[in-house]
């Protein structure tokens, strides 16, 4: 027994780190995601890249068409309309979501622990509402004549617009509807706010700075990592927006009859091309164009973040 308790020097390992037990365990735990990514995401992505150079329609024999789909993407006026709509939506939606979420999180951080739990649940509930239901709700809440939104505006003397038919108000309406489900972002901001060291506020208070200055010079820098993360995620989500607009304006026979070009977002048009018009090859080319646009925007955001995001222990 005594011999077994002796501490003997471990032989120096010259083998790959893959022979390490923990590494294998880690990969084992990661494997569902890795396999899922390879089969369900990376595989279809590569196939869609190949399909983007074909006339694939899901039904007939496929022919290679070279760059034709990409040339058509560049000259299709509806692509320009859809891309413009999507960018406008993103420009309105991302800051709107971030500002509202931050305001709600700030309010929540000031209420008692027990009440905060209740409010957190309440704010998160719309997040689990199916997007299809939100699309239908949009038409009901934003009905120009009997909708709740215009009724509420009427109480303060504002004659509300025709949200579902006026091209100038369709996108703002959809953005407002999207703000309904900011719960996830609120939770992230709340966690970030709770992690800001109290002593920073105490020091600021001792220096006599105002509440706004505390928010501007203490809170914002300390939660800038969370702000940056949500900005990236929200931007990608906005550029891929589909469910609400599709349900409200394109989904059923009835809604498709009264569709509106102002609600034609990029992914909605992509879906139309793929599944309504059976132009899968063209839709694949559209998907890759969107991928490139998102990649460029994300790259710019990441580069800019170096100037604005504070990482503890890192450079500002």
């Amino acid at each position: 027994m005594a011999a077994r308790t002796e501490v003997r020097p471990r032989p120096r390992r010259r083998t790959s780190r893959f022979r390490d037990r923990e590494t294998w365990a880690a990969y084992a735990f990661l494997s569902p995601w890795i396999i899922g990514f390879l089969l369900i995401t990376a595989g279809p992505m590569l196939i869609s890249l190949v399909l983007s150079f074909t006339d694939y329609d899901g039904l007939r024999e496929t022919q290679a068409v070279g760059w034709r789909n990409y040339e058509q993407v560049m000259s299709d006026p509806k692509i320009r309309t859809a891309m413009f709509n999507t960018l406008v939506y993103a420009v309105l939606s991302v800051p709107g979501t971030m500002i509202l979420s931050l305001w709600l999180a700030t309010m929540l951080s000031k209420v008692g622990r027990r009440s905060a739990g209740v409010f957190r649940t309440l704010y998160y509930l719309p997040e689990v509402t199916p997007k299809v239901a939100v699309g239908v709700l949009f038409l009901m809440l934003f009905n120009g004549q009997v909708g709740l939104v215009n009724s509420a505006l009427g109480l303060v003397g504002i004659d509300g617009p025709q949200w579902s038919t006026d091209e100038a108000w369709i996108k703002p309406g959809l953005v407002l509807m999207n703000l309904w489900s900011v719960g996830g972002t609120v939770i992230i901001y709340l966690a970030a706010l709770n992690n800001v060291p109290r002593d920073l506020y105490e020091a600021a208070e001792l220096d006599g700075v105002s509440a706004w200055q505390r928010f501007r010079h203490v809170t914002l820098p300390m939660i800038s990592g969370a702000l940056f993360f949500t900005m990236i995620v929200q931007t990608i989500a906005a550029l891929q927006t589909f469910d609400e607009a599709y349900t409200a304006f394109f989904g059923s026979t009835a809604s498709a009859t009264y569709s509106n070009d102002a609600a034609l977002f990029y992914v909605v048009y992509l879906f139309q091309q793929a599944f309504q018009f059976l132009h899968m090859g063209y839709a694949s080319a559209m998907a890759w164009l969107l991928f490139l646009v998102i990649m460029v925007i994300t790259f710019v955001q990441v580069r800019l973040s170096r100037r604005f995001v504070y990482y503890e222990g890192g450079e500002r």
Binding site: W24, S31, L59, Q162, E167, S259, N260, F277, L278
Partner: protein, 473 residues
């Protein structure tokens, strides 16, 4: 393979180094097993969707459907009869409305349904791509009498001279007039006359009622964009050539028809107000726009008579034909049809099944079931409008009895008269894109983004490009 890594009772003691090595092997084996198990789960999950449903020898086959649901007795009675016809084979009814994404996925994964019901206007799109089976062999082997079906319905599903489906319903479009609304405005139903455009505009305005800035009643809803083909026909234009390959969306007469219909919308408060008001209707309920005096008149599909007879049988309604400016009646007929996907593995049973679903005996049995139901509810039975002329003769000649409700009796007679003059849109290899092009154009006009001429010229370009592309490929 696995036994190499199993730690069992060993006949000799292990030193620490060996124990560590074994432990690592065991650990690796567990990690490997985890990876394989997950892979197996993922792969089996993927492979399970399109699993092999081939029946064993001697076992009855089960056919699958798409685009059809057992919503009411009209469906279930015919399905029962069709199932009997192919027994011992069975049919598994799946889903409701036709879903192109679901259908495409099934076809692409080589597991198509054996039967599919879809809008007749879309059938050309799928037929042109070889997805649907031409029915010559089916018609011949089952000795299907095509004369029983209405010609406009067959024309919608005949592409390049080949028939691709058997028609189900036959939706006629007629003018429906709310007698009470006209009476309250001091008018009679005859005031709704689509042959006199100027008078119709004036009547529409007179019938329109407002409550402050909000609409309280639409005088005459021209039902655009969906009924644009009727307005075009009334102006003497077909929106697409008979062979379904040439769009005629920029025809000046069609543009004039759209301009007129749009002017009716503008005169009654504009598209925003009308659409918002229309969206608030309880269209299928007791508080429908006719019973609540929210709508005075509109062109509408015949099935709405059945809705009114069901939910507000006391409504006073007049049906009149939609006419051109010379007073000639115009009825645009649409509906769905049954087809057999080319890759169906049970084409013979599928053929017999759709034959039974659409033949006159089945429709008559279904109509009798509906009539019984209505009788038990003490409500009028206003008939079923089918693509089968023989069935309609029997249904409306012997089963429908509306003597107790003269308003509906006259309304049904109005529909039957109108359907003698019905037209349909020819089958086209790009039916979906063609429809999207002209509907989007009208929506751009309605929302003020484009003038009618500009919108229809754009639609013409889009539609013709799609038709050329479909025909070329």
């Amino acid at each position: 393979m696995w036994h190499r890594f199993h730690i069992v009772d060993l006949p000799f003691p292990l030193d620490d180094a060996e124990e560590i090595r074994m432990s690592r092997r065991y650990s690796r084996s567990r990690a490997g097993a985890t990876v394989l198990a997950v892979a197996a789960l993922v792969l089996s999950g993927c492979g399970g969707v399109g699993g092999d449903d081939e029946p064993a020898e001697g076992e009855a086959v089960t056919l699958t459907t798409m685009g059809f649901g057992l919503g009411d007795e009209i469906a279930s009675t015919r399905v029962d009869l069709a199932n009997e016809a192919i027994a011992p084979a069975k049919v598994k009814i799946g889903g409701n409305a036709f879903d192109p994404q679901q259908f495409l996925s099934a076809v692409a994964s080589d597991s198509p349904p054996d039967l599919v019901a879809m809008d007749r206007q879309l059938m050309g799109t799928y037929a042109a791509r070889g997805t649907l089976e031409p029915l010559e062999n089916c018609v011949e082997s089952e000795q299907i009498d095509l004369d029983q079906y209405r010609d406009p319905a067959l024309a919608e599903i005949t592409l390049d001279g080949k028939l691709y489906g058997l028609p189900e319903f036959y939706n006629n479009r007629v003018l429906m007039i709310n007698d009470a609304s006209l009476k309250s405005a001091g008018l009679t139903p005859e005031a709704i006359d689509t042959s006199d455009r100027a008078a119709l505009s004036a009547t529409a305005v007179k019938l329109t009622k407002k409550n402050g800035k909000d609409l309280a009643r639409i005088g005459f809803d021209p039902k655009i964009p969906e009924f644009l083909p009727m307005w075009a026909r009334a102006n003497g234009v077909d929106m697409i050539s008979d062979d379904g390959l040439t769009a005629k969306l920029d025809d000046p007469k069609l543009i004039a028809g759209l301009e007129y219909a749009y002017s009716l919308i503008q005169a009654q408060g504009g598209w925003g107000s009308i659409k918002a008001f229309r969206d608030s209707f309880d269209f299928f309920g007791e508080k429908n726009p006719f019973s609540t005096d929210q709508l005075a008149a509109f062109p509408m599909e015949d099935w709405y008579l059945n809705v009114l007879a069901d939910v507000s049988p006391d409504t006073a309604i007049t049906v009149a034909p939609f006419t051109d400016e010379q007073g000639e009646p115009i009825d645009w007929a649409t509906g769905n049809a049954w087809a057999i996907p080319s890759a169906s593995k049970n084409k013979d049973q599928a053929c017999k099944w759709i034959k039974t679903m659409t033949q006159s005996d089945s429709w008559i049995a279904a109509a009798e079931a509906r009539a019984e139901k209505r009788k038990s509810e003490n409500k009028p039975f206003t008939g079923v409008y089918t693509g089968n002329e023989v069935a309609d003769e029997k249904i409306f000649g012997e089963i429908v009895d509306l003597s107790a409700t003269p308003a509906f009796d006259a309304a049904v007679k109005g529909v039957l008269e109108a359907q003698d003059d019905a037209f349909s849109m020819p089958a086209s290899p790009a039916g979906s894109e063609f429809r999207t092009a002209w509907q989007d154009a009208v929506n751009r006009v309605l929302s003020g983004q484009q003038a009618p001429a500009e919108a229809m010229q754009q639609a013409q370009k889009e539609a013709q490009a799609a038709l050329d592309n479909a025909a070329g490929s």
